[in-house]
């Protein structure tokens, strides 16, 4: 996929494959094209060239079945701050056309998974950053999508909440959900089953953590060597 704004290519010929049930991490610094890649995969931004397929659906399709197939959690909190957790989830349930009985069951399930049930009648703006991220995840999970796109899901979250969130991702991936997570944190990237490193819109490397690390001692060393090699 390529995404150009004017002359500038923000994403420049990125190509990769993610297996079902994988926890794929797209690693890269701020402004490297991670969010744009996620947005193209979610159909929010149209690609200038190339195409992508998510769960068998072309991302250019505006088909509602394609939308039901994915869950998306934006960078930063993108739910309604003045609504309660319950109202936010009710809105999501209606947006995905869940029947009232299924909606009730799914809400119960995601409350339990994310631990947000205790705050269901609280306004979202009252939650701490970590709990807001959990609520965001609950909303993304509500319609039981097969693929989850999480854009920097743990940014600004305390270490305990971060650990809890990752445990949650593992559990869900173990249950068959596919995760596509962006991060700029090396430590976080190492928790993924596969990673890709994107810099200035180009995907420099893609593989398991061991493959990317290669002969180097740490993942960071490997990426430093890679970038230096590319620049020289």
């Amino acid at each position: 996929m390529v995404k150009r704004y004017g002359e500038q290519a923000v994403v420049d010929g990125v190509s990769f494959c993610v297996e079902p049930g994988a926890l794929f991490g797209l690693l890269g610094p701020n402004g490297s094209g991670k969010s744009t890649t996620v947005k193209m995969l979610c159909g929010l931004v149209s690609a200038s060239a190339g195409s992508a397929c998510v769960g068998g659906f072309d991302t250019r399709s505006r088909d509602s079945a394609a939308r039901r197939h994915i869950g998306y959690m934006a960078q930063g909190f993108a739910l309604y701050r003045d609504l309660t957790c319950e109202e936010n989830l009710e809105f999501c349930a209606r947006a995905y056309g869940l029947s009232p009985s299924i909606a009730r069951a799914r809400k119960r399930e995601v409350y339990e998974l994310t631990g947000t049930g205790a705050f269901k009648d609280q306004r979202a703006e009252r939650l701490s950053g970590g709990w807001q991220r959990r609520l965001g995840l609950a909303a993304a999970l509500l319609h039981d999508p097969a693929v989850l796109f999480l854009d920097e899901p743990t940014a600004g979250v305390d270490p305990v909440a971060r650990r809890d969130l990752w445990d949650l991702f593992y559990g869900l991936a173990g249950a068959g959900k596919t995760f596509f997570i962006t991060t700029h944190d090396m430590g976080e990237a190492q928790r993924c089953s596969r990673i890709g490193y994107i810099l200035e819109g180009s995907l420099l490397v893609c593989g398991t953590v061991a493959e990317v690390r290669g002969p180097h001692e740490t993942l960071e060393d490997a990426l430093v060597a890679l970038v230096r090699g590319m620049r020289s």
Binding site: L44, V45, S46, R68, I70, R81, A95
Partner: protein, 372 residues
């Protein structure tokens, strides 16, 4: 401890505020050009001197003196003869429909009676829904009488021709009867436009609009789902201000309330559509507010609410006729003050419906076509 008089860092704050102002060229142009542009438009457009009031007459006499009276009317700057009508009923209808503000009824036998030196009365019907126009018409009555008697009897033996003014619709010339109906339109337009624009800009700023676009919610559903609640709010507002007009200001509704409510619907739709269009152009809440003000001011000053459109210079008149408020004001004053029906108001009604459907359709299509 910091006090109100501690000015440490004043330069830093001013520096960064100036950078903010200079950073957004659109906002800069709006805040610098808008006051100058508005001053020029309103300075030229607003004319408190009433002239060229649309006038019709019914000549049941067709005699020599009647012809002279018509020519006196033609020469009187206060009036602008827009036509003659065939009956007393048609004269009244022209005033009800708003086609004319003043009507002269020249009775049968007028010329004969004047020539025989008998006292004659010429009724002048005046639309009292606009007090300034009514006052100007009253003021011209003596002028017409004078001009006619000079022609009839240059020696000064004046025959008794009396122009007898009769005010229709708002005989006591109460200001609320004239002003409040117009204000109602403004309130409804402003509230629907501002609510819609800010609500969408706010969603975009917070990222919730993008989040919504990932869901199966269709573009049409998104637009309508946003607009219907605000449309209902606008409509409830309309009902509340109508009730306040009726109870607090004691302004009676002379025409059909049903027709008024029916024709308010496309006007509410126009407000919603404008809000939606503003939300697409504005890049921040500040810009959205500035743009709504840009629309509110001319709706207030150029729609004919206070100043006659016919007296405005051409550029201002063009703006007037491009404003939805101008047509809705016609409807409001027509129904509330003059008791006009659909047959009288079909032109502003058709324009208002066209504005409502057109603005909303254009805004919805553009909104749906826009990538996030």
């Amino acid at each position: 401890m910091s006090s109100a008089f501690d000015l440490t860092g004043l330069g830093a704050v001013i520096y960064k505020e100036v950078r903010h102002i200079l950073r957004e060229p659109t906002t800069l142009v709006l805040i610098l050009a808008m006051p100058v542009m508005q001053l020029l438009i309103y300075g030229y457009a607003i004319n408190l001197h009433v002239e060229h009031v649309a006038t019709v007459y019914h000549d049941a006499d067709r005699g020599r003196v009647a012809g002279q009276l018509v020519s006196v009317l033609e020469r009187t700057p206060t009036f602008h003869l827009v036509g003659s009508v065939a009956s007393t009923a048609a004269l009244r209808a022209a005033l009800v429909s708003g086609r004319a503000r003043v009507g002269f009824e020249i009775p049968a036998g007028f010329s004969r009676d004047v020539e025989r030196g008998r006292p004659v009365t010429v009724p002048m019907l005046v639309d009292g829904s606009d007090a300034a126009i009514a006052q100007a018409a009253y003021g011209s009555a003596a002028q017409i009488e004078g001009a006619l008697s000079t022609w009839l009897d240059p020696l000064g033996e004046s025959p008794a021709v009396e122009i007898r003014a009769r005010t229709l619709f708002n005989p006591s010339l109460r200001t609320p009867n004239f002003l409040v109906p117009g204000l109602i339109g403004l309130m409804v337009q402003n509230i629907t436009m501002i609510l819609t624009a800010l609500s969408i800009v706010n969603e975009r700023d917070r990222g919730t609009l993008e989040q919504m676009r990932v869901t199966p919610i269709g573009s049409g559903a998104l637009v309508l789902g946003k607009l219907i609640p605000y449309g209902v709010v606008g409509y409830v507002d309309l009902l509340l201000v109508l009730i306040a007009m009726r109870t607090v200001f004691a302004v009676p509704i002379a025409g059909s309330v049903g027709l008024l409510l029916a024709l308010s619907l496309p006007f509410v739709m126009t407000g919603l559509g404008l809000g939606l269009l503003i939300s697409m152009v504005a890049r921040s809440q500040l810009q959205a507010v500035v743009m709504t003000v840009f629309f509110v001011m001319p709706s207030f000053l150029l729609s004919g609410m206070f100043f006659e459109i016919d007296l405005m210079p051409a550029p201002a008149r063009i703006i007037s006729y491009a404003l939805p408020m101008t047509y809705f004001l016609e409807i409001l004053r027509g129904i509330i003050v003059r008791g006009a029906g659909f047959a009288d108001l079909w032109v502003p009604a058709v324009v208002t419906v066209a504005f409502g459907v057109g603005t909303l359709a254009l805004a919805s299509l553009r909104f749906a076509a826009r990538p996030s």
